[in-house]
Symmetry: C2
Subunit: 662 residues, 2 copies
Amino acid sequence: MSSIAHELAKKQKEISVSEFFEKNKQILGFDSLTRALITSVKEPVDNSLDACEDASILPEILVRVEKNDNSEYTVTVEDNGPGIVKKQVPNVFARLLYGSRFHTRAQKRGQQGIGVSAVVMYGQLTTGKATRVRSKISDEDVAYECDLILDTKKNRPDIIKDDFVIWDRPHGTSFQVHVKGKYIGGKQSIFEYLKGVAIVNPHAKITFVPPEGNAIVFERASDQVPPPTKEIKPHPEGVELGELLSMAKYTESLKMTSFLNTEFSRISYRVAREVCELAGVPPDQKPDQMTLEQAGAILEAIKKVKIMSPETDCLSPIGETLIRKGLKNVLGPLKADFYAPPITREPKVFAGNPFVVEVGIVYGGELNKEEPVQILRFANRVPLMYQQGACAITQAVEAVDWRRYGLEQRGGTGIPFGPAIVLVHVASTKIPFTSESKEAIANIPEIREEIELALKACARRLKTHLNKAAKRSKARVKFEIVQDIIPMIAQKSAKIVGKPVPKLAGTITKIMNVVWIDEDVKFEKSRHHISVKIYNYTPKSQSFHLHMLLPFDKVDPKTLKEKPIEVREGNKVTWDIKRLASTEILELNFDLHGVSQEQYDENEVYVSGIDPASVIGVEVLPGDWDLEHLKITEEGAPEEKEEGEEGEVDYDEGAEAINNEE
Amino acid sequence: MSSIAHELAKKQKEISVSEFFEKNKQILGFDSLTRALITSVKEPVDNSLDACEDASILPEILVRVEKNDNSEYTVTVEDNGPGIVKKQVPNVFARLLYGSRFHTRAQKRGQQGIGVSAVVMYGQLTTGKATRVRSKISDEDVAYECDLILDTKKNRPDIIKDDFVIWDRPHGTSFQVHVKGKYIGGKQSIFEYLKGVAIVNPHAKITFVPPEGNAIVFERASDQVPPPTKEIKPHPEGVELGELLSMAKYTESLKMTSFLNTEFSRISYRVAREVCELAGVPPDQKPDQMTLEQAGAILEAIKKVKIMSPETDCLSPIGETLIRKGLKNVLGPLKADFYAPPITREPKVFAGNPFVVEVGIVYGGELNKEEPVQILRFANRVPLMYQQGACAITQAVEAVDWRRYGLEQRGGTGIPFGPAIVLVHVASTKIPFTSESKEAIANIPEIREEIELALKACARRLKTHLNKAAKRSKARVKFEIVQDIIPMIAQKSAKIVGKPVPKLAGTITKIMNVVWIDEDVKFEKSRHHISVKIYNYTPKSQSFHLHMLLPFDKVDPKTLKEKPIEVREGNKVTWDIKRLASTEILELNFDLHGVSQEQYDENEVYVSGIDPASVIGVEVLPGDWDLEHLKITEEGAPEEKEEGEEGEVDYDEGAEAINNEE
């Protein structure tokens, strides 16, 4: 028996992190030839974008993929970034866990110090060839160029050869690796990856030269480098006990209060004293003398003391306009019915890291009704292409009961079916990926919950739209029956019984007994044609106010025949409908010009001063512009409550309660 | 600009692997409190099982989970393994990437040297407390005990205190960690994990003491330690170019032929010479002088030369019986209709590592029809609890078009719905996990393909069963119409027209014009009651042979009234049905005894010597026991071909072709 324990002991040894990843290259995103090639493009491109952002340079990136023999490709990524100083080049590109961002709390694409060195390692493993890096910084006349491999036994760079070369650009970096791979098109391809990058980085110009040769250019859509995101200290929420102890051990502060104030964000001296007092820890105590019990008490106190929400200037969300644009871009020539107004939630915290969730939904039109909805995932402005099933974004989508928002979903879980695209972006000073390949966000409860709330908020907007569409179509059906079929029946019946056709207006109004308002908007030749038809199918004349939300300064006055009686705040427009006689029809028609299709894709029409029971087709306000009441409807009005909705409302309220605490 | 490059350079530094994982603990399986607690149990349990297997000890493992204050738990895992020598204890438990199995090609649970040290690190991070390890090896009188933490800056163990203690067991290891966690029941729980472990490790006795206190014992179902799996050298298939060059650099062999023969499995000297010849590389060349071009040529040659399939004694599949048992165990008191005979595929290779895929399916009965099928995933006899969506097993299940095998699946992709459980086990000398948390198998094309083939093969067996059931039920419906409804119609019609009821036997035979065979098996009080009813609904008398596949020595002779005319190979039983008159019925009834329900859950009945067109209810063989023809049917007979099936057949054939090459 002892021999076994001793024998096993003999085999025990340490391996280097590079040996580990050499044997587990699938963890780094090299599990198939297709994915390996995409990863080999993705890592240097992410680095280039980060470097340009650090230096406030508008990125110009060239990506070239060439096919050599068999399944060998050469990938070149060239940027106009600040360059890398000579001494650091080998370490940055051929040493794992080496980088500048690991201890930085800021929204960056790369954080691990693994990605691009992993590509170098994969290249040498599969082709036996070194990677060539060229870099020029602006205060040198020449560029430094070297051929590198990674010595996997030691996790250190091995410079095969190096030299200074002339490079006709002021500064930048070029990366050229030879890898075994497989080039394909389709959903998971380099093209789609770069398109995704372009969508969420409109300030970058990206040129892609595929193996087949014809360069594709993703042009810059904005000349603004995103404002640099600030580095921050950890937010005290979610800091672990052991982490607090370790921070206290290594701090340079001499007192508990200054320790808390210096090492954490959002802890003022006042708050620090309050925390110490509540925890029963002397404010003047040396931090490195903090006991386990004291640390526990400090954490408990932090939960109870009112601490501000995290800073938001460390985060760079995509924003509503860009999400819409991005979705349009994905759709290409396809047309959709409805762009639900995107949601950007308030920042929240997990383990001391602020994060923000954004969601956009597109629905209908030419999108495929028979397929699962398409999910577009982004993390810190990087498109996520693989590991969809492992990602908290997907899991949140699967957990939402989409049936109550008008999508088909068997059993109320799983990816719903329907003509929709759901875009989710998570931005954080630290994205907790499930693995080093950075393709899926881990199922951290705080993040998962936020994604679900954002999805539901956006889905409610979708539902409001679908409800409206359903109501309108119902009203239209009823109208058609009354308007078209009843006269036909009357005619035929009259013929059979041999009597003259009776007058029907009275009958129709008796059957309908409503004011029906049918509105429509068409976009043609950069103009919106708006039409609102009001049918009085009641037996008496009707007077009420009709309200529309629209940019009134964009209404073409030549087209506006019926003048409104009031325009409030430039966009709340009211018409006075006076004594519209029974069976009469009134039409309001006019054009908008100078408004983009995205900015106005649906009319918002309301009425007031009329019994809600006698109107179909639009919402009735209790008073002029009393939109508060509608807001409630949008958030899930009681009359639309479904089974389980109550639970959800509680949930939302819970979340609000937490907000208020912060 | 230069200032930026230089400023960025200042931030560049290396971090230790433990610092990396401290900040990315979600990668190691600590993304939520619930999962963290399960991981804290899983890692030491996996280690205990591996250690016992190495020492050929029948494992006896105690798992205790205690709740301390707040969300702090104490997890204790104690085993009767060989123990660990004193010197190695700190490294094994508090140093990442340290272990005995990393460079070993053998089917083990632990391979990375990360798991249990990660638990120690998580414990100190969240509770500030050290982990206590006690270990005794059989040639020492006392046990060594120490309190450990992991110094994350250096990735080295830090011994807080240690001592020798009396321990009243001959050898073993105890591991006690304090962690922040959350204890829950349900699908993803410690109980379910241990149940899964017990299912695929029937030689282990596992006692679980949950926080609520009542110990649960998973008793040993087998007294056999699985035969130790052999370590092997890499199989030459799938070896990478860079890997080959690196191996050639470090080998002790002096000639190419001995290098190939020594470092790879399945390369004899003859094969080595053949490879060198084909590659144009001198067989006597020194391996460390191999050029890049030569290495490429060697790899090409390896693809062309006939090399044997990998050894199988390095793998330890679960096996058919155990898979059935395991599934029964999962079902518990629930009853299922059908256990499709499990499939254990032939071993295949990816990147030099042999692997084998096993699949079992249970269907029907009390399983829920309205939910997605349950997928049970195992890798090297370890149940996989998390990351289902990221796993190649799940992706393979989603890629199979289950509609053609009788399950519901919208669009032919995604997890199908239906009353079924699908169990998949992948065993390999190296499981390519998607991350260090070892919860999902990476989407390696070779593995994914094998899983799909195994799923399809098992699904075909399911379909054969469902087809049979459908045919039988169709025949029964027709029979009922003819037998019950026609006489009623005759009676009523006779009454209406006031004539006597006509004789119907002739009419019925005219309508049916078939021999209908209806068979059934019931299991009661450890006996199988088998009944085969033969209805001659043709206008003339019929003679043919009826065949059944059953263990004839288990037939209770007292119950067997109709004697067979032949019993071939102990289980191919034939009755001679002679001149069964028109409209007559013949019943064969008998019992089996001493056969378990699992071993016989469906009759296999065939007939021969009769026109296939005149038989319903069973298959007709072209000749006595000509089962070959049926085998084709099972693999997807032309008459059952559906759209796209042709593609699948090609696919299967492709796979076979690869087999033959090996």
